[in-house]
Symmetry: C2
Subunit: 421 residues, 2 copies
């Protein structure tokens, strides 16, 4: 029995989260399946950012560092992120970029290992990890005398040995949407005597994360994907309390000082995660992140992350089923795991040729997904339960079917290269 | 012969830069003397930021990385900053915070010395440097096996020896407004075989800077002070071309990769200063920085930085003269050098007691300067020629006189502590 548009509409009518879509401004005629790259604009953001610009900055001027609470924003928004990732108040700071935060926490992890287990000199990660994570690890390993070893996913458990210092993984893979078992891998790494650093870029706000229950050591994540904080929004860093006070991270700036306004010439790190702050933070970006977090936290009375996760899985299940029902015979394969426990919040398809042009043709038809080059190339469709309807999934797959059936993707205009993020 | 308000108004009428004030939105009844801490709101910024939020983000969504040129913004705004500091296109990137950029360039400088002159193990700086600069240097020196030595200003020339790796200075002192002779100190450091890193936080947009003519090695600076980029605006980094391609900086993120969208697992740094980029940048902050730079660059047809500098010196000369004429006998001393070549764009006064409360009483009267604790405490008044009138200086000093004559600063409400930046 095939799925119909009417079926999808019926599911939307029964969706307990359906009202959350109204928290966003989405362009007319667009099905947005790239919230895993850049979340869409929350309806409240323009006014809040305008208020920060015109009133807090324009009228309050320098006084707003105090009167508008600017200085507290990284910790205040960090506390709100904490509720989404199984962390406690005071453990998360919203600041800088994911790459820079990874540098901070991996530095601290390596310092910890160097002190406690100096014979451990290997950092393990996945070859398919997001490249910037590997670049940061490569750079730090070189500077600190560690060795970075890149593995395939199935090699990880066996590679955890008595020379492993740190296991550094991205929880949900950016290309395939495959999700690691955070608790199991963390336990396995700890059993081998290693620390674990998790990148939650494609997890925070997308899937249930419980860093405390998993007993993870360090984590970072992104503010502009599922947290809807806007282009280049501040990222975040989390440090388990057992590590937080042990070492400085090297980006020891005044915002991480115990008394930032004492202006002492020597550095005294603030207690806890606040020492993962460095320099002055972008207040416009933090204000937009605040509005983005509002949209995710608005799901709390409706069941919170478990409810979002249920809908996310229902959306990706539907996407997969519709592709298999309606686009069969067009050379598409599924890169995302079918098993719920192994799937993030996106559906990734592969095709031997034409993937880039298919994505461009879909964008021209108002269905915005994205393309990731590789072997094979990937068509990536993020399914964000905050604003995506089951009907949207139906339309997206229908447009995909038309692009394939009519071979529209062969048109030259869809083969022009563009940088994408 | 004393100076009158009428004299000041006459100078304003003849000021060739007077129209630039209209580029800003300044609160009614406020004389803003804290643009050296946070520049005021340019009139064009709210609309531009709203456009980025509503149109580029809200309607363009992920496509705006290409169609709105987001990805190019750090280099595009870097090129515009370059014109203000004697650098060439391609040499400056607008990114991250000043602290983080200092970490990058000081890392590169230390790598350079370690390769070329490994016996040089000392980094020299000033005890009165902005603390975050010292914290970053302290952290890096510890990690890299260097020694950080803090000096008084007059000790610097003699401390440059054959063990000096790097001289790291802030060009204009944040507390006193004293300015170093960049060309002379750079030459002296080079003669001793050391590299020089300049922090231009209180220089860029405030005084004439010519990094190329001074033959400096590395520089960083701030976007939210004299460049009017808004609270926590992106900072900038400059690297002399002779150094730019030699080493990576350790914050080796994907934005500094030679092919950021190839997503290769290994890091290949971009040529030149682009390798000083790391992760995804805040686009709202960059848009506001663009508007801030517009205000400084609007002075170009009116004489540019030399004209701004002439007015800045005239304003600070006037401030000093009026304080000495009208506030004599109230225990104020001048901390800022009288000599033009030694003075930045601010006037700093000291007083044995009550400095904090005097600043608070002035703020209550609409004159916004700031306070910096120390021995002695400092009252700091930034004089930004883009929007400050000679008349404003007269009013500011008149309010200061009243606060002192009426001992208004003794009121308890002006003694409540607040964090300030």
């Amino acid at each position: 029995m095939t799925t119909t548009l009417a079926d999808c509409r019926a599911r939307d009518a029964q969706d307990p989260l359906r009202a959350l879509r109204d928290l966003f401004t989405l362009p007319e005629g667009v099905v947005y399946l790239d919230g895993n790259s850049l979340g869409p604009l929350p309806r409240a953001t323009p006014e809040r950012v305008a208020q920060v610009v015109r009133e807090e900055w324009g009228q309050g001027l320098i006084r707003s560092w105090n009167t508008a609470g600017w200085f507290e924003q990284p910790r205040r928004q960090g506390d709100r992120i904490a509720t989404l990732i199984g962390a406690e108040p005071g453990e998360v700071v919203a600041t800088d970029s994911t790459s820079i935060n990874l540098f901070k926490v991996l530095s601290a992890a390596l310092a910890s290992v160097a002190a406690d287990a100096p014979a451990r000199r290997t950092v393990l990660s996945e070859r398919s990890n997001f490249p910037t994570d590997l670049y940061i690890a490569e750079s730090l390993c070189r500077d600190r005398g560690f060795r970075l070893v890149l593995l395939e996913e199935d090699e990880i458990p066996h590679a955890l040995r008595d020379d492993t210092a740190v296991l550094m993984l991205t929880h949900v893979n950016y290309r395939t949407g495959a999700m690691h078992d955070m608790a199991a891998l963390t336990a396995r790494a700890h059993a081998a005597g290693a620390l674990v650093v998790w990148d939650l870029a494609h997890s925070a706000g997308a899937v249930e994360v419980d860093l405390t229950r998993a007993d993870a050591d360090y984590a970072v994540g992104c503010g502009y994907k599922y947290l809807n904080g806007g282009p280049g929004a501040p990222a975040f860093a989390w440090v388990h309390p057992r590590h937080a006070d042990r070492f400085w991270q090297p980006l020891a700036g005044w915002w991480g000082h115990a008394q930032p306004f004492a202006f002492t010439p020597d550095y005294q790190p603030a207690p806890g995660s606040a020492r993962y702050l460095c320099g002055t933070q972008g207040i416009l970006g933090l204000a937009a992140l605040e509005c983005g977090l509002d949209t995710v936290l608005a799901a709390e009375p409706l069941g919170g992350m478990p409810a979002l996760r249920r809908k996310s899985l229902a959306l990706t299940d539907l996407f997969i089923a519709l592709v298999e029902e309606r686009c069969a015979g067009h050379g598409l394969d599924l890169a995302t795991p079918r098993e719920h426990a192994r799937r993030g919040s996106q559906v990734c398809l592969t095709r031997n040729d034409g993937a880039y042009a298919i994505v461009q043709a879909l964008i021209a038809r108002g269905v915005i997904g994205d393309f990731r080059a590789g072997r094979p190339d990937i068509l990536r469709f993020g399914c964000t339960p905050l604003y995506l309807r089951f009907e949207d999934v139906w339309h997206a797959v229908e447009q995909l079917r038309l692009v394939l059936v009519e071979e529209e993707w062969r048109r030259p205009e869809f083969h022009q290269a563009q940088a994408v993020t």
